[in-house]
């Protein structure tokens, strides 16, 4: 059980939680994740550790409500407990020190950059963060991210804040020498199409790029193999070997296809969950 100490709505469908979890906070490293289950009969879902506070024994997670379990989680309030929380899982991010590192976040991925980019900045790397959204109101954690990097680049589809266009278009400009300039390495966290586009953008320039793959997971310890991905023609278990992989070696097509394996069931589950919460509301 993990008690929720703080909840913030970042967008209508994105919630930030600070939860009590001293053991995980003590062991966590940037880039690792947890697995939670929020009700009896519930699914186990992976969530990135956006930030951790060892002194206070807390974790910060940011959840984008896309389906059943993220929906249940988003509905929890301060003082509620998360039924099961286990971690930290996966390998911490490893990037050679001393260069210009660009972190790119989309959706919840922006939050995942928090502890990660702070640590890189702290060890002396030059850091740039690029985050993007449809419009200004959907950009999350802008102030917090601005504090922990040398340059924060905002992108919006409609131009309501920062650069008008996609994060990858801005990335291409940086590679061309604009703004904070060409990265020595890139880390991308977010929706698969975004990570794929970043990968295509850096490939021709040979810029080392890491992506955080998000396959479906169950145990998170290497026991089921459900999270397998193909990297450099080898099968890897993302929960123990990842979640970060050399982007230019990732078989994205397979990863995307495997993530869609349960689309129909996910829809059925979501409808059932909505009925359940309606029924609860009537009590």
């Amino acid at each position: 059980m993990a008690r929720i100490l703080e909840k913030r709505s970042l967008t209508p469908v994105t919630k930030l939680f600070r939860v009590e979890s001293p053991l995980v906070a003590a062991a966590a490293r940037p880039g690792q994740f947890i697995i939670v289950r929020v009700r009896e009969g519930g699914e186990r879902i992976p969530l990135t550790i956006a930030d951790y506070d060892r002194d206070n024994g807390t974790l910060t997670i940011v959840v984008q409500e896309v389906g059943t379990t993220t929906g249940y989680l988003g509905a929890l309030e301060v003082g509620d407990d998360i039924l099961d929380l286990v971690g930290p899982l996966g390998m911490a991010l490893e990037i050679p020190a001393g260069g210009h590192i660009v972190g790119i976040g989309g959706g919840f991925g922006a939050a995942a950059l928090l502890c990660l980019m702070r640590e890189l900045s702290a060890r002396g790397d030059r850091t740039t963060i690029i985050i993007g959204a449809r419009e200004k109101g959907l950009l999350i954690l802008v102030e917090e991210l601005a504090d922990i990097c040398d340059d924060l680049e905002l992108c919006t589809d409609d131009g309501s804040a920062g650069f008008k266009g996609l994060v990858t278009e801005r990335l291409a400009q940086l590679i061309g020498g604009d703004g904070p300039g060409r990265p020595d390495s890139v880390v991308a966290i977010g929706p698969m199409p975004m990570m794929r586009a970043v990968t295509d953008t850096t490939r021709d320039f040979g810029i080392p790029t890491l992506v955080s793959l998000d396959p479906l997971m169950i145990d998170g310890t290497g026991m089921c193999g459900g999270c397998r991905v193909t990297v450099n023609n080898e099968v890897k278990f993302a929960c123990v070997d990842g979640p970060f992989f050399d982007a230019h070696q990732v078989d994205f097509e397979e990863a995307v296809r495997r993530n869609k394996m349960y689309v129909q069931q996910e829809q059925a589950s979501k409808e059932r969950a909505e009925c359940r919460s309606l029924a609860m509301g009537q009590d």
Partner: protein, 464 residues
């Protein structure tokens, strides 16, 4: 007077057609009359060879005789003195290659149904009202157990009885190891496992789920931060193997671990009431012929497959599953493709499984394992049309703890190396047993290892 009846007293079983669509236990257990009738078959041999066949040396004739005499409490006591998990072992032990294989009756007749009797006594015990709370641990030396499979559970119980405060750390959200996530309800009802776990709690054993040692806590943390005096590693062999054939990452391909975990641990059979789905098409092929494969193929039927089949490169004689499970699978309509080796999983343009390409095999000379080596028959490739493929070709120990614990030694298969007698690993005060040491084996071997490790740990800590 012992009665010589050639056949064993039948176990009542649920109707095959009915049961293959639900998860209720197949074997219904003996009633008292049947148990007594069966117990009376035992010859009470001078040299009870059945005991030699039992990995934990249950004094079999003694408990069987007590059943015949109607002394159930006495029988239960004898049984428990040797086997801490009788209700589970009575259901899942491969008796035909252990006690019952040795039984003297077996040379001319059918051996005594030792497993059924073991289960009968243990089920009787579960039905008794709980006595007074047992004494709580009083000793100062705390022990941490990593993993809550049979090895960890038994080790914890024994140490608690010896007076040690014990904490079990389990990575998953529920305790029991393979007994929880692997062996299905229709073979081992979870209420049996829950009852055993309840007994441990009554003994004062603390069970902490959602802690992965090597991730959440390190081995050093256990000693230095948490103050444990010794650690028992019972982390099992939970790393699924894949074959390395083309198509293994197609949609609709599972490891047996994933398939069974979705159903047993996450209750996918109850989807969408439970939130985790499992994908089963009309035709499911399960590769392998061990207990795991048999559980998987029968589970596939129960979650909606119209046709479920076993594909195995050797013949029925080399199958490693319990004989009873094989029989039950046949009754339930499972199809068997013996001497058939998968060479490729075929898919459609959207990446979904459509078939399993196989090659027929024939048996050749014995191989390293002493079993006849299957060799492919050239040009005999054919395609089985299937919607799902589940690989059940074996598990290895999970390397997670090894990778994060300095000085912990393993062999080339990733099994922890321990001293034979003491179960001590390469690290001081760290002991190990069960599948983590032997590689995938049996419940009773894991339970036995947990028990002897407990004695070794107690000796290590108390010099007794």
């Amino acid at each position: 007077m012992p009665l010589k009846r050639a056949d064993k007293t039948p176990m009542s079983e649920r109707d095959a057609e009915l049961r293959s669509h639900d998860f209720v236990e197949v074997n219904e257990g003996y009633n008292f009359a049947r148990a007594r009738f069966e117990a009376e078959r035992c010859l009470r041999c001078q040299d009870p060879v059945c005991i030699d066949g039992c990995p934990v040396r249950i004094p079999i004739p003694d408990f069987v005789h007590l059943i015949a005499a109607g002394d159930m409490a006495g029988a239960a006591k004898v049984l428990r003195s040797a086997n801490p998990l009788p209700a589970i072992c009575g259901r899942v032990c491969p008796q035909e290659s252990q006690c019952e294989e040795q039984c003297s009756l077996g040379t001319r007749f059918v051996p005594v149904a030792i497993g059924y009797l073991e289960r009968f006594v243990a089920d009787w015990e579960m039905g008794q009202p709980a006595g007074e709370a047992p004494a709580q641990p009083t000793r100062a030396e705390k022990v941490a157990i990593i993993g809550s499979g049979p090895a960890g559970l038994v080790c914890a119980g024994e140490l608690a009885r010896l007076g040690h405060p014990v904490t079990i750390y389990e990575g998953l959200h529920a305790a029991g190891g393979v007994l929880r996530y692997g062996i299905p309800e229709f073979r081992l009802p979870k209420k049996v496992l829950d009852w055993e776990i309840e007994q441990l709690k009554r003994l004062g054993v603390e069970i902490v789920c959602n802690v992965i040692v090597g991730k959440t806590l390190s081995m050093d943390d256990l000693f230095e931060k948490m103050g444990y005096s010794a650690v028992f590693v019972g982390t099992g062999a939970g790393l699924p193997q894949f074959m390395g054939i083309p198509g293994e990452n197609l949609n609709g391909v599972y490891s047996a671990n994933e398939f069974l975990t979705r159903v047993n641990l996450m209750h996918a059979n109850d989807f969408p009431n439970a939130d985790t789905p499992v994908m089963v098409g009309k035709r499911v092929a399960v590769i392998g012929a061990g207990n795991t494969a048999m559980d998987t193929v029968r589970t596939a039927l129960r979650v909606g497959a119209e046709k479920a089949m076993i594909v195995y490169r050797r013949s029925v004689a080399e199958m490693t599953a319990r004989v009873e499970e094989h029989h039950h699978a046949i009754e339930e309509g499972v199809e068997f493709h013996w001497l058939t080796n998968p060479v490729e999983i075929l898919g459609n343009k959207d990446g979904w499984v459509t078939g399993l390409k196989c090659i027929s095999m024939e048996l050749g000379e014995p191989d390293d394992s002493g079993r006849a080596r299957p060799v492919p028959i050239e040009g005999s490739e054919f395609v089985l049309p299937v919607d799902n493929v589940v690989l059940s070709i074996g598990n290895r120990p999970n390397p997670l703890l090894l990778q994060t614990t300095k000085g912990l030694k393993s062999n080339k298969w990733g099994c922890l190396v321990v001293e034979d007698e003491s179960a001590q690993t390469s690290l001081r005060h760290v002991f190990a047993g069960g599948d983590a040491v032997t590689g995938a084996a049996t419940v009773i071997l894991a339970a036995g290892a947990g028990k002897s490790a407990a004695a070794a740990i107690h000796a290590d800590l108390c010099g007794e």
